[in-house]
Each structure stands twice: as structure tokens, then as C-alpha cells.
């Protein structure tokens, strides 16, 4: 088109920026201001609840003065380990094209235009770095509140240092992920980097020292405990990672971006409809987690009528789990065990963290149940009530969860000593049943419809919130024995009988869910996902 072509990469980049501004203005024009106000109101309510939980509503227990030495010794490397885990996850995400998520049309038109990709991706990368810092700061401030209650000191000081340290860690993590995707790091190299980072931090924790840069950044978070000015050098990690990210972002793989663009949209949509089973499914695809073509081993053929076909179907599926899923399940169990120890030692409300971890693990373990819901036509042709099938899937999921639960109990025993073995095993048992029940509620319950919004208007959001918190409440109930043990200990009563009593009553929750599943044996009316979406 002679005469009509002109300009260079700079002009095209300016066009991209101009179009973005136009689209932003247009979107703002169509924003319902009252809806935004209502969302902010809901967000504040949720933030308030979280803050109340964090501060413990009286359940936060101060770390005794004699134990503050240990807190000082382990605080920095433990925070550093948390940062290392976040950065390791980001680097692994980078090996799959993360953490940037572009619009599919941007991948198709902008990344395919003869424009310097670095110049058009830089604004998105900058926003991602800022988001990482903001999320980090939020988490850090929340942790600062808890820490100030647990070990004493000025709340403002704790919030300042923990918030700043976590903000820097958040930006570092996003930067590391962006560098990973920009240099197109391979999955094995990413795993090696992640292992090295986490391994170094674990060694720091075991030795109670600060040798890795991330432990030093962790030391900034616990500054009120023991200030070491040299640790401030670690603050340079974030700008270094950001600079490297903005320099290398142009190398992003279009193939990985296109894949992420498509799947991230599905994850967001599923999350917006509170369909957490679909979120888990698409997140696995986003992580490139695919079931094995060949099972770990083949089950011998069975024609026995005594072997449940549901059990065999679930075993076939589980034997195709990729290693990443197995390790994730074990990791979630171990993290839940550590959270229980933290709940017992510092703040009882931390059992909610264990509850969330148990629920996430149970969603993974309930894959057979999820697949059943995804393919309702198949279930409709089974000459049995749907509840019969669902209960058997639940039973299998609970069986699978025993493994991570035992891993969690082992972690608790390793950290807290063999004296907690009975409590750990009891909690493992209740956690398995409650988590499986919680996942069953999430998977089997129909997405929220008009009927669920009966208290219409301003109460609808709150009604949905309560509805969606139910599975988490059931999962957390599984860890209540830990709370009761601690509260009895503080009250001068024998702790173990209190925990066992609690375990007995806690079992009512999964029993009620089993009854609901059994009686709610109808076939779901609509498939949530097409068959191609199955993992």
C-alpha cells in the first residue's frame, strides 16, 4: 500500500498505548458506579472479617518471653522460606509463560504486529510488578498485625517493616517470574532454580541463621525483633528483579502467552461464578499439568462383583495423576500440619489456614466426583441413584486424603515432638473426613442461582458469601481438635480429652454432608464444562 505505510515500531507502540487509553475511558464510561461502591463495601466487610480472624478475636496468644529467643532465631529464615516458596512458584510460572496474562486478541494482534514486543509489554509488566508489591504489602501488613499481637512491640512498627519486606518480596517474585518467561527458561531449569532457592532457605531454617538473600529480606520483616542494618541490602533484590524483568520481557513466548490468555479467562470466569471445582480444573491446565498417558502401574483386571466399579474408576484415574499433583497433595498435607502447630503455638485462628489447605487438597482428591459432575449424561444412564455413585466417589477421595493427612501429622510430630502424636493422628482423621465432605459440597452443589439470592438487593452479596464459606467452615471443623486442645491447655484442663471430645462432635459435620449427598441423589442438570475441559 504505497504511501500509506509509515512510522516505525515507536509509532505502532504509541498507537497501542493510545488504543489502551481509549478502551480504558470507554470502560470507565460504562462502569456502574453503585456496583463499584457495593463491591468496595463487600471487600471492606471481607477485609474486616479477615482482620478479626487474624487478630484472633481474643484467640491470639502471646508467645511467652522465654520462647521469644526462638522466634528471633527462626523468624527471619522462616519468612525467607515463605518468600522462597513464592519466588519458586513464580519462576515455575515463568517457565510456562507467566505471570503476565494478556487478552487473546492482544496476543493475536499486538504480539503479531511488527512492533518491538518489549515496548508494548513493558506497561503490562510494570502493572504486574506493582500488583505483586501491593499483594505482598497487604499480606505483610496482615502478618505484621498478627506478629505484633503474638510477640509484642509496636503494631505500627510491625506493620511498616513486615509490609515493606513483603512488598519487596512480592515485586521480586513477579520480577523473577517475568525474567523466567522473558528468557524462556525450561521447566527443568525452573524446577532446579526453585529447588535451590527453597533448599537454601530450608537450610537457613534448620540452622537458625541468615545466609540467603531471601532470609535477609525475611529479617527485614522481623526488624522489630532484631534489627540488623546489613539485612537492608536485601531490599535491592526487588529493583534488580524489576529491572531484569523489564529488560527481558520482550522475549515472552507467543505460544505460552496464547495458551495462558485462553485459560486465564476461563479461570477468572469460573472464580466469578464461585465454581471452584472448575477453577481447580483450569488452574491445573494453566500450570501445564496433564494426566499421564500411561498409569504408574496397571490394575489387574477384575470381574468380581464385589469390587465397586466406582472404586476401580477412581483408582484408574488416580494412577494417571502426574507427579506434580501427588507432590502438591503431600505438600498441602504437610503445610496443614505445620499450620496446626502454628495454631497451637501462636494463634488458634490459624486452624482456618489448615482448613483452606485441606479443602484445596480435597478438591484435588475428589477428581472422580468432579468428573462425574462434568459428565452428567453418563451418570444419567447408570441404573443407580446418583447419590449412590457420589458417596462411593467421596469414600475414595477420603481414602486418598489419608496419605497427605499422615504426612501432615508426621510434620507436626517432627516440629512439636512425639507428645502430640495422638492429637496429630486424631486431627488427621477428622481433617480427612471434613475435607472430603467440604470438597463434596463444592463439587456437587449447583452454582448460585436466583433462588440463592432470595434476600435480594444489598443482602444478596452477603448471602453468596455465607453460602460459599460453608465448605471452608466444614473443612476447618476438621482441625478444631487442635484448637480445643490448646484452649483446654490454656484453661488448665486436660487437653487431650478435650480434643477427643471435640473430634466426636466434629464428626457430625461430615455425617450431615453424607446424608445430604445420599438424599440429594439427582443428576446435575447441566454439565459445568465440556468434555475437552477434563483434566
Amino acid at each position: 500500500m504505497p504511501g500509506s505505510t509509515g512510522g516505525g515500531a515507536g509509532t505502532a507502540a504509541a498507537d497501542v498505548a493510545a488504543l489502551r487509553r481509549l478502551r480504558r475511558r470507554r470502560k470507565l464510561r460504562h462502569v456502574d458506579k453503585w456496583r463499584v461502591v457495593y463491591r468496595i463495601y463487600l471487600l471492606l466487610v471481607v477485609a474486616g472479617v479477615v482482620l478479626l480472624v487474624l487478630t484472633g478475636i481474643g484467640g491470639v496468644v502471646r508467645v511467652p518471653v522465654k520462647e521469644q529467643g526462638a522466634a528471633r532465631l527462626l523468624g527471619a529464615p522462616l519468612v525467607g522460606l515463605a518468600y522462597a516458596l513464592a519466588i519458586a512458584a513464580a519462576v515455575r510460572s515463568g517457565s510456562r509463560g507467566g505471570p503476565l496474562v494478556l487478552e487473546p486478541a492482544d496476543v493475536h494482534f499486538v504480539l503479531q504486529a511488527p512492533v518491538d514486543r518489549r515496548s508494548v509489554l513493558r506497561p503490562a509488566a510494570t502493572r504486574a510488578l506493582a500488583r505483586g508489591a501491593a499483594w505482598g504489602a497487604t499480606a505483610g501488613c496482615a502478618a505484621g498485625v498478627v506478629a505484633s499481637r503474638a510477640v509484642g512491640g509496636s503494631e505500627a512498627e510491625w506493620i511498616l517493616w513486615a509490609g515493606m519486606s513483603a512488598a519487596l518480596a512480592g515485586a521480586t517474585a513477579v520480577g523473577a517470574g517475568l525474567v523466567g518467561s522473558g528468557v524462556r527458561i525450561g521447566q527443568r531449569s525452573a524446577a532446579a532454580v526453585a529447588t535451590a532457592l527453597v533448599g537454601w532457605s530450608v537450610l537457613d531454617v534448620m540452622g537458625g541463621r541468615v545466609t540467603s538473600p531471601l532470609s535477609a529480606l525475611g529479617a527485614v520483616a522481623v526488624w522489630p525483633l532484631s534489627p540488623h542494618p546489613l539485612d537492608l541490602v536485601a531490599a535491592a533484590l526487588a529493583p534488580a528483579a524489576a529491572l531484569a524483568a523489564l529488560t527481558t520481557v520482550g522475549g515472552l513466548s507467543v505460544e505460552a502467552s496464547a495458551r495462558r490468555a485462553a485459560l486465564a479467562g476461563l479461570v477468572r470466569f469460573s472464580a466469578s461464578t464461585f465454581d471452584f471445582r472448575a477453577v481447580a480444573l483450569f488452574r491445573r491446565q494453566l500450570a501445564g499439568e496433564r494426566v499421564r498417558r500411561r498409569p504408574w502401574f496397571r490394575l489387574p483386571p477384575s470381574e468380581s462383583a464385589r469390587v465397586s466399579p466406582v472404586l476401580r474408576r477412581d483408582m484408574h484415574g488416580t494412577l494417571r495423576w502426574p507427579l506434580a499433583r501427588i507432590l502438591r497433595l503431600l505438600g498441602l498435607g504437610m503445610a496443614a500440619g505445620a499450620a496446626c502447630v502454628a495454631a497451637w503455638s501462636a494463634a488458634v485462628p490459624i486452624v482456618a489456614v489448615a482448613g483452606v489447605l485441606g479443602w484445596v487438597a480435597a478438591l484435588d482428591a475428589s477428581e472422580g466426583l468432579g468428573q462425574e459432575v462434568d459428565h452428567p449424561d453418563r451418570l444419567a444412564s447408570v441404573p443407580r441413584p446418583a447419590g449412590w455413585v457420589h458417596l462411593r466417589h467421596m469414600r475414595f477421595a477420603a481414602g486418598v486424603l489419608v496419605v497427605p493427612a499422615l504426612a501432615g501429622a508426621a510434620v507436626a510430630v517432627v516440629i512439636a515432638g512425639s507428645g502430640v502424636a495422638v492429637l496429630a493422628l486424631t486431627t488427621a482423621g477428622t481433617a480427612v473426613l471434613c475435607s472430603a465432605a467440604a470438597a463434596a459440597i463444592t463439587v456437587l452443589r449447583e452454582p448460585a442461582g436466583p433462588g440463592d439470592l432470595a434476600p435480594a438487593g444489598e443482602m444478596a452479596g452477603m448471602a453468596i458469601l455465607v453460602r460459599e464459606l460453608l465448605p471452608l467452615a466444614v473443612a476447618t471443623a476438621g482441625f478444631v481438635p487442635v484448637s480445643m486442645d490448646r484452649l483446654a491447655f490454656l484453661g488448665g484442663r486436660p487437653p487431650l480429652p478435650a480434643a477427643l471430645n471435640a473430634a466426636f462432635f466434629v464428626m457430625l459435620a461430615p455425617a450431615a454432608v453424607l446424608g445430604w449427598v445420599h438424599s440429594n441423589g439427582r443428576v446435575p442438570q447441566a454439565a459445568r464444562q465440556p468434555e475437552s475441559a477434563s483434566s
Partner: protein
């Protein structure tokens, strides 16, 4: 002068120098075995090449690699002499995927403006007007394609691909969902593009397109099963 900077002296919209689309020993493996396996062929400039083959034969993957959307596992694709996906290749490659990819919040005309300007075209409006009129989109030019039917979205994607200069036009199943007006217009556009010197590569199951294509590449199980004239009997076997 890079291929991207070169504008055809014939007064056409075709951009770039060098041969058309050259696929050399290309393989693509997503981890479950090769989807495209050692494919070699050339879609020359100034000709329409039909890419045919049964479902799962690797046509879509091959086009996506040529468009720079997928990285090859091994081998190479060059477009006008530039490696697929490079900035020079992006300047000369226009791709229409089988499933139209469009912005939710841009009208048809805004899509055309945006993409044309991304490719350095300042006077985009006359060509955009011509495209929407010939494709029967004029009455919907200011509407959002996100609310269109499949056929109208396909027409929009075709218009967007043609609104910018290119030296190679890669289209995946372009006739699906198009009405007769759209099919006729598309055939004319493809003929004009090849007459202007562009390399046109069309993956299709449509037999009637073979009547206008000058070359045909048949794929089967990720490999080239046939390469030659579209009226060869072997092509019919691949389409059956």
C-alpha cells in the same frame, strides 16, 4: 532494507521480498508425539496453495507455526525469507485462525483501524470501507463483533486480516460459517492477494476452493502425503 520495510512496487498490497512461505523439515510436538513431523514444502508468491487433509492431520498446527503463534520443535518456517515469528516475518504475515480472535470492546471499524495502524498504515479508512462493504458488514461496521453470529465474526476476522499490508496470507478453514456473499467475496480477495504477489496458504476441506488454487499440499498424520496440482486424483483421496 528489511522485508517489513519493502513495499511492492507493483502498487499492490503485497509486502516483502524473497520467496513465499517456505516450510523446511518442520516438526511440532506438544509432548504426546509429533503433530507435525518433518514437513517440507513451499507456498510460492503470487499463488494460492490449498492445504488439505483429514481432521488431526496437522494443518492448523502448521499454520500456527508459520504465523509465529507456536514455536517449532525442530525445523524452520520462513516467510518472505524471515523466520516465522520474527519482527520481519510479523510485518509480512497475516493470519486468520479457525476460531476468530477479536476484542470484546471494539467495533468492526475500530478493529480495522487498530490493526492497520499497528502495521504502520495511516490511510486505513478507504480500504476498511471497501472491505466491510464487499463482505456485507457495512451496516454492522460500528457494532461489536462480540455480539455477532459465528459467520459475522468470521467475516470480521477476514476483514481485519486484509486491512493491513502482507506478503503471506495464512487462513485456516475460512469458509466455515460464511454465507454465499461472504464466500464469493473471500474468493475474490484471495485471488486479488495472489495476483498482487502475495503467497496465499489456505487450510480447507472445501472442494470448490481447489478449483481456484494453483497448488495443493495434502497432509496425513502430520506428514506431507501429497504436493502438486490440486486436480490430481490423490487430492480427492485425501478429502474423502
Amino acid at each position: 532494507m528489511t522485508p517489513a520495510e519493502e513495499v511492492s512496487t507493483t502498487g499492490s498490497r503485497a509486502r516483502g521480498v524473497g520467496p513465499g512461505v517456505v516450510v523446511a523439515d518442520l516438526s511440532k510436538d506438544f509432548g504426546d508425539g509429533p503433530v507435525v513431523d518433518g514437513v517440507t514444502f513451499e507456498a510460492p508468491r503470487g499463488a494460492q496453495t490449498a492445504l488439505v487433509g483429514p481432521n488431526g492431520s496437522g494443518k492448523t498446527t502448521l499454520l500456527a507455526v508459520a504465523a509465529g503463534l507456536l514455536d517449532p520443535t525442530s525445523g524452520r518456517v520462513t516467510v518472505m525469507g524471515a523466520t516465522a515469528g520474527s519482527i520481519e516475518a510479523r510485518a509480512v504475515t497475516s493470519f486468520v485462525p479457525d476460531n476468530p480472535v477479536l476484542y470484546d470492546d471494539l467495533s468492526v471499524m475500530e478493529h480495522l483501524e487498530y490493526v492497520a495502524r499497528l502495521h504502520g498504515v495511516r490511510q486505513w479508512r478507504p480500504r476498511a470501507q471497501e472491505l466491510v462493504e464487499r463482505l456485507g458488514l457495512a451496516a454492522r461496521a460500528d457494532d461489536l463483533p462480540s455480539r455477532f453470529s459465528r459467520g459475522l465474526r468470521q467475516k470480521t476476522a477476514i476483514a481485519v486480516a486484509l486491512a493491513r499490508p502482507f506478503g503471506a496470507l495464512l487462513i485456516d478453514e475460512p469458509f466455515v460459517g460464511l454465507d454465499q456473499l461472504g464466500r464469493t467475496a473471500l474468493m475474490e480477495f484471495l485471488a486479488e492477494a495472489s495476483a498482487d504477489g502475495a503467497s496465499v496458504l489456505v487450510a480447507t476441506h472445501q472442494r470448490d476452493y481447489l478449483a481456484v488454487a494453483q497448488r495443493c499440499v495434502g497432509m496425513l498424520d502430520g506428514t506431507v502425503a501429497f504436493s502438486g496440482r490440486p486436480d490430481d486424483d490423490a487430492v480427492s483421496d485425501l478429502l474423502d
